[in-house]
Amino acid sequence: MTLAEVLLGVMFVGLIAYGLFGGADFGAGIWDLLAGGTRRGARQRDLIEHSIGPVWEANHVWLIFVLVVLWTAFSGAFAAVVTTLYIPLTLAAFGMIGRGAAFAFRKSITTLPMRRFLGAGFALSSLVTPYFLGAVVGGVASGRVPPGIARGDVITSWVNPTSILGGLMAVLVCAYLAAVFLCGDARREGTEDLADEFRIRALGTAGVTGIVGFGGLFVLRSDAPLLWEGLTGRAVPVIGLSVVAGIAAVFFLGTKRYLPARLASSLAVTTILVGWAVAQYPYILVPDLTIEDAATGRATLQAMLIALAGGAVFLVPALVYLYVLFQRSPAESEPRESASPQPPGAVIT
């Protein structure tokens, strides 16, 4: 493995983390959207809020990480991607602002109409943001981004069959992950009936994702032949693992074993992303620019590798601490100062 490949690999780890953690947060927003009327959906929305409240900002930083590694280690390719695909990227960034701000501020607001408005903003932007990000992946994967600044078509690079497939898959995967994760969270909060509701949704989205994924392969055959070739050639073992993990996740969900279900579904999603990377290797921009050609100078790559390793020493324990603190069962981490008890039937949009 060359230095450039190692760095791109590290970037990809960040991308996977964003896909899993950030993706689940987006998915939670999608379920928020579909939770039903204000009163009926209150408990689900409450659970969603509890599940992502303290962690969403940290989860979100994975994307920043991906961006800064790309622009430092693969500056030219980065410039090519963001200029050709500036429209979906800008819209995704707006979606992130809308989602973050609406989610963050809605709980600080007590008037119902305002809270409804912010809740809708949070939920809608959770739906569109992963779509646009998936469309960006589709544009890159189908070879619609040529090297150079703004050389590709700024519209058809993201409005095309592969991008639409990418967008749909991103939305489905986010919803699926969130449903699986929320099952476990619901059980931890002692609301087994909510866990059951999300279990059904997880199973449903798993089915739809599987069907769209396989149907999508045929879209790729005509629209992105190089990607198709890779996926049905070199990447077959990875895709196979994804299928096995997906089936295992369905099995664990069926038997209400939520922790193994979480792991299996995460593996299934991870392998989809890895499959894309393997299929596209050794190109960073299909079909013109290889990873080696796109990589910047050796001194920069070395400095980054040192910084990434050194930073991980601080980052990993901090992340683990956050999740452990947060995932501890509420019984043992009940606030010492009693929070204002919620009146029965409290309405939370």
């Binding site: 409450d46 809020e49 409240g53 303290p54 900002e57 940290a58 979100h60 930083v61 920043i64 961006l67 800064v68 622009w71 430092t72 280690a73 500056s75 030219g76 980065f78 963001v82 200029t83 500036y86 800008t90 995704a92 960034a93 707006f94 992130m96 602002i97 809308g98 701000a101 963050a104 501020f105 709980k107 600080s108 607001i109 007590t110 008037t111 119902l112 600044i149 703004a150 700024v154 910047t296 100078g297 001194a299 920069t300 400095a303 910084a307 601080f314 980052l315 901090a318 992340l319 601490y321 956050l322 603190l325 947060f326 606030p335 010492r336 100062e337 204002s340 009146p343 309405v347 939370i348």
Partner: protein
């Protein structure tokens, strides 16, 4: 695409792209200041509260922690847009020089990550951790906040004084040395200036909120501490900032003489150069200004015979817009001096009488000091950013050559204006609510108050 068409698009995009970047950065920078400094004030209040067993202080700290959470959320989302914009708007900069100066952004990515994690822990753990563990959890937040500011400003300092690489005959970057690029001549003065500015902005702004409360007759302990703690931090650092300002002016004089000439509206290269306040620059001359004789030569060289380079030494098409830079610089220095005066009055009274000055005029001055500090900081950024024009990388890459030629890019500016207006309104609304109902939860906390206005009026101020 036709080369001519690309050029036309780039020209069309340049102004909106600059405005979009200015708006996004100018907005984000205010929230970054709070991200850097607010944790320090908050944990200080928390620590004093525990130490003295004073619930007024711990409650004050809790309110601050929540406000910090709101401001952090706003800063985080606006920062995300910025990292997209770096590439979307300025591909000529990132594509060509990303390998040279992108590195500090990688480190900033880590710093921001750790800050985000510990903001979550600090707010979520408010009553879940022991006081000691809780206060310790603020430490990584404080360190990573300052470190993040250092890295971002180091990248900006590189744009002012690009180092750590060579250009070959075709203008391609060779021998990029990211560590050397990160520690160029402007890095230390610029980062020090920005960090102090962050503490001043936060200190004066938070103090101003409580000064307004005191002017309205609320003189309880909460207001006393709410004014005293941030104002003390800010007042101590203001004179230091003036000193750092002198340092940075000297570095600018040495490294970017054109910028200094624009800051002063100085056309002729001369010794005994005057320090000019106000005025309008046209026909290669500053008109209607108040001049302090020999002032500039003294300031830069500490010698009246020191020669200061004027704008005449720079080709016309390489000069920044003088009036903007000169005015912004004067505003920054003027407001900085006023804040110094305020700090001195406060220090004198505290030293002689051990109390906050009682005069309503003092409280009125504190009440406007927050806005003054913010305006001074923004003016400082306009000075350094506009003063660098027409270059995006000083003396190497013009801003017009760095902007993306993508068709339709300029439309993004209008969208960003709309979004920031909405985001500002929302942030102000939530902060005002927080000021009036201090049980309002922060974004990172988990327990939302049910809607409707039955919550009893718990006046904070």
């Amino acid at each position: 695409m036709e080369p001519l068409l690309v050029v036309a698009d780039a020209a069309e995009n340049l102004y909106p792209a600059r405005m979009q970047m200015a708006l996004s950065l100018g907005w984000h920078i205010i929230f970054s200041c709070f991200g850097i400094a607010f944790p320090v004030f908050t944990v200080f209040a928390e620590w004093r509260g525990h130490k003295r067993g004073n619930p007024a202080l711990t409650e004050l700290a809790h309110t601050w922690a929540k406000a910090m959470g709101v401001l952090f959320a706003a800063g985080a989302v606006s920062g995300t847009l910025l990292s997209f914009e770096m590439g979307i708007l300025w591909p000529g900069l990132m594509g060509r020089f990303g390998e040279v100066f992108g590195f500090p952004f990688v480190l900033e990515g880590y710093a921001f990550f750790i800050e985000a994690i510990f903001v979550g822990i600090y707010l979520f753990g408010w009553n879940r951790l022991s006081p000691r563990a809780h206060m310790l959890s603020a430490l990584p937040m404080i360190i990573s906040g300052a470190a993040g500011a250092f890295f971002v400003v180091a990248a900006n300092a590189w744009m002012n004084n690009p180092t750590g690489f060579r250009l070959d005959a075709d203008g391609q970057v060779v021998d990029a040395e990211p560590w050397a690029a990160m520690f160029g001549p402007s890095t230390w003065p610029q980062t020090a200036h920005m960090l102090l500015a962050a503490y001043m902005v936060t200190g004066f702004t938070v103090a101003s909120v409580y000064a307004i409360g005191m002017l309205r007759g609320r003189r309880d302990q909460r207001h006393k501490f709410g004014l005293l703690i941030p104002l003390t931090f800010a007042a101590i650092l203001t004179p230091v900032q003036i000193g750092v300002g002198d340092w940075i002016a000297n570095v600018v004089a040495e490294q970017q003489p054109t910028k200094l000439a624009a800051m002063e509206g100085l056309y002729e290269t001369t010794d005994r150069a005057p320090l000019s306040l106000g005025g309008i620059y046209y026909d290669d001359e500053l008109h209607y200004s108040i001049d302090v004789p020999w002032g500039l030569s003294l300031l830069i060289h500490h010698d009246i015979n020191g020669v200061v380079e004027g704008l005449e030494d720079t080709p016309v098409d390489e000069r920044p817009p003088v009036n903007v830079v000169h005015l912004a610089y004067n505003v920054m220095v003027g407001l900085g001096s006023a804040l110094l005066l305020l700090a001195l009055v406060f220090a004198w009274t505290w030293w002689r009488r051990r109390r906050i000055p009682v005069s309503p005029w003092f409280l009125r001055a504190v009440a406007v000091s927050g806005v003054a500090a913010i305006v001074a900081m923004e003016a400082g950024w306009i000075t350094t950013e506009v003063g660098r024009q027409p270059w995006i990388v000083y003396d190497i890459l013009r801003t017009e050559d760095a902007v993306s030629p993508a068709p339709g890019l300029y439309l993004g500016f209008y969208a960003v204006v709309v979004i920031y207006v909405a985001l500002t309104a929302l942030t102000v609304f939530v902060l005002r609510r927080l000021a009036h109902h201090h049980d309002t939860p922060a974004p990172q906390e988990v327990d939302a108050v049910p809607p409707d206005d039955h919550v009893e009026e718990l006046a904070v101020r």
